[in-house]
Amino acid sequence: MVTRTAPSHLTARERARRTARGGASRSVPAPLLAPALIAVAFLVLPLAGLLIRAPWGHLRAALSGSDATQALVLSLWTATVTTGISLVIGVPLAWVLARSSFPGQRLLRALVTLPLVLPPVVGGVALLLAFSRVGFVGRYLDDWFGLTIPFTPLAVVMAETFVAMPFLIITVEGALRSADQGFEEAAATLGAKRMTVFRRVTVPLVAPSLGAGAVLCWARALGEFGATITFAGSFPGQTETMPIAVYYALETDPNTAIALSLVLLLVSVMVLVSLRDRWLRGGSLQ
């Protein structure tokens, strides 16, 4: 036996929508609506709190403190250098993972992806064990070159690279895998050697993904906290990056902490805008 529901009322607007675009009802069932609203509130309320509590009147004063400026400058240049290093060494690794085949390739891919899921503080501990003055690599750097890495800006860059480079690598590797290799074959028949093909065909073809991966890598480096504070510490002007400065300022000077947070929020929004074509179109491949 078929149960029939009573006729419901269709507003003129809804009627027009369904006529124009087709499709059935788009009303959300209550059991889905309530949790969805809670999720929205959970994500939006803290950000709203940041905006409400912001010392809008004296932002400039809060940010012009020498510590804040130093942290901002340090964060910007280390994140940029990290991105540069990641491009120089990460893109070739992405190519190796995508295009060549050798024993242990799957293991290598797993290792490369590990920092994505590893707690950053563990990364920091690992870096410390390897590169500290008594670390198994750092010992020789110290003995032979007098080079001490931990608690220097170089350590900041290394910690950020360790955490952020995998974002670039997996983005570019995916693009290389899905790229049409017919163009590379065409380049070969036109007399281009492997390196020329890479430079003049492969890289330009994956340029959009290269850009997206670089932005992602830069944003991740800018926000890096755990590995940096563990491996590089928090010396103002030397290794105290924005997130670390925010963390310490919160205890002593909340206004500065909020102002710095606003700057990071602004940067994040800009990153999102720059990636909008890739990510905000509901999973379409563009």
């Binding site: 074959e185 070969a188 281009a192």
Partner: protein, 364 residues
């Protein structure tokens, strides 16, 4: 077949890919356009790929202008980038991030010329293929016919010894195809090296190629001039392509017993043994009654299985001993009240039957 010392292209090789094996032996002389005709999956693209150096051969060798390109026994292999080959791909594969001028200059540049020298080498081909006005466009802004010319210019700009064309016209719509085909024929005539042209379009092969080979299932089933192949197809596939009825049979003088049932009387040229008989669909006459007084000696009953309207005639698909495709005028269909299931009589004159031996397949 040996072609030692030939200055053209000589392929005598096998390429194995999984369960598929391409085994061919062919030669193309300088200035000759060798058409490779075959259905999808026959191995046409594999052949081009092997000649271009994108796929190594599994056995045998490939020679170009007296130089070994690939020799499975000796282990010699010239990489694709080192072969003097110009390849026009099926969908052209123009680099989307480069302009037309940069696409055409790609090969001179990759082969070692400086930026300026490469540009001037490219401009020669850009002018020659009437691309001057399009030089600054990106491939995405070109029509199919324009993209085809760019692909040809790009391939020729590397000054190849050998030209490979993979279905060069298949990406075009019917309207532009004839124009582009005529222009392509001119450019092929000016090219001094051998040219391998792969296609599954018989018209393209007949118009553009000097010599044809037909590939089926990785083997060459027929070769010869286009005219020869169009008149005397060796397989059902080729017969269908060129629009002929093809029958295999056993001849004993003027009597031929057909393998699929039925018999034909043919002009007696003293043939004995296995023969092929090709019949044009328009050479068969359809009538409602058994013809009483006819000089034609081949008459048999058949039943209409289907009718298809072609441009100005109707093609009948007839079941009988033997079955046949027959073309009649739409007026005849009306006059004779032809419809699916109708019983009719077919008549064909002995002189309309093209009778030839299997053995003559690989000549011409």
């Amino acid at each position: 077949m040996t072609h030692e010392g030939s200055d053209g292209l000589v392929v005598d090789a096998e390429v194995r890919r999984g369960s598929f094996t391409l085994a061919v032996s062919l030669a193309a002389a300088p200035g000759q356009v060798l058409g490779v005709l075959g259905p999808n999956g026959a191995g046409k693209s594999t052949l081009l790929s092997a000649v271009a150096g994108l796929t190594p051969v599994s056995a045998g060798r490939i020679m170009l202008a007296g130089q070994v390109m690939d020799d499975a026994d000796a282990g010699t292999f010239v990489e694709a980038s080192g072969r003097p080959v110009g390849f026009v791909f099926q969908n052209y594969r123009l680099f989307p991030h480069l302009t037309v001028a940069e696409n055409v200059a790609f090969s001179p540049r990759a082969r070692g010329l400086g930026k300026r020298a490469a540009r001037s080498a490219a401009s020669h081909w850009i002018d020659r293929l009437r691309l001057t006005d399009l030089a600054d466009r990106k491939p995405g802004q070109l029509s199919g016919g324009q993209a085809q010319r760019v692909a040809l210019a790009r391939a020729l700009a590397g000054q190849p010894t050998l030209l490979l064309l993979d279905e060069p016209l298949s990406a075009l719509d019917a309207g532009t195809r004839l124009d582009v085909q005529a222009e392509l024929k001119r450019h092929l005539a000016e090219f001094t090296g051998p040219c391998l042209l792969v296609t599954h379009d018989p018209l393209e092969a007949l118009v553009l190629a000097d010599q044809l080979i037909v590939l089926e299932g990785g083997r060459i089933v027929q070769d010869g001039t286009p005219a020869h192949i169009a008149r005397r197809p060796a397989t059902d596939y080729v017969a269908k392509l060129v629009g002929l009825n093809l029958y295999a049979g056993h001849a004993d003088g003027s009597q031929v017993a057909l393998t699929g049932g039925g018999a034909f009387v043919v002009p007696d040229q003293g043939q004995h043994g296995d023969v092929l008989i090709a019949v044009r669909p328009s050479a068969v006459v359809v009538s409602n009654q058994r013809p009483q007084r006819s000089s034609a000696r081949n008459t048999w009953p058949a039943k209409i299985a289907g009718l298809t309207l072609l441009a100005d005639r109707v093609r009948l698909d007839l079941d009988g001993q033997p079955s046949a495709l027959v073309d009649v005028t739409p007026a005849a269909v009306a006059e004779l009240s032809l419809e699916a299931g109708s019983q009719v009589w077919l008549t064909v004159k002995a002189t309309e039957l093209e009778v030839y031996n299997h053995d003559h397949i690989r000549t011409g």
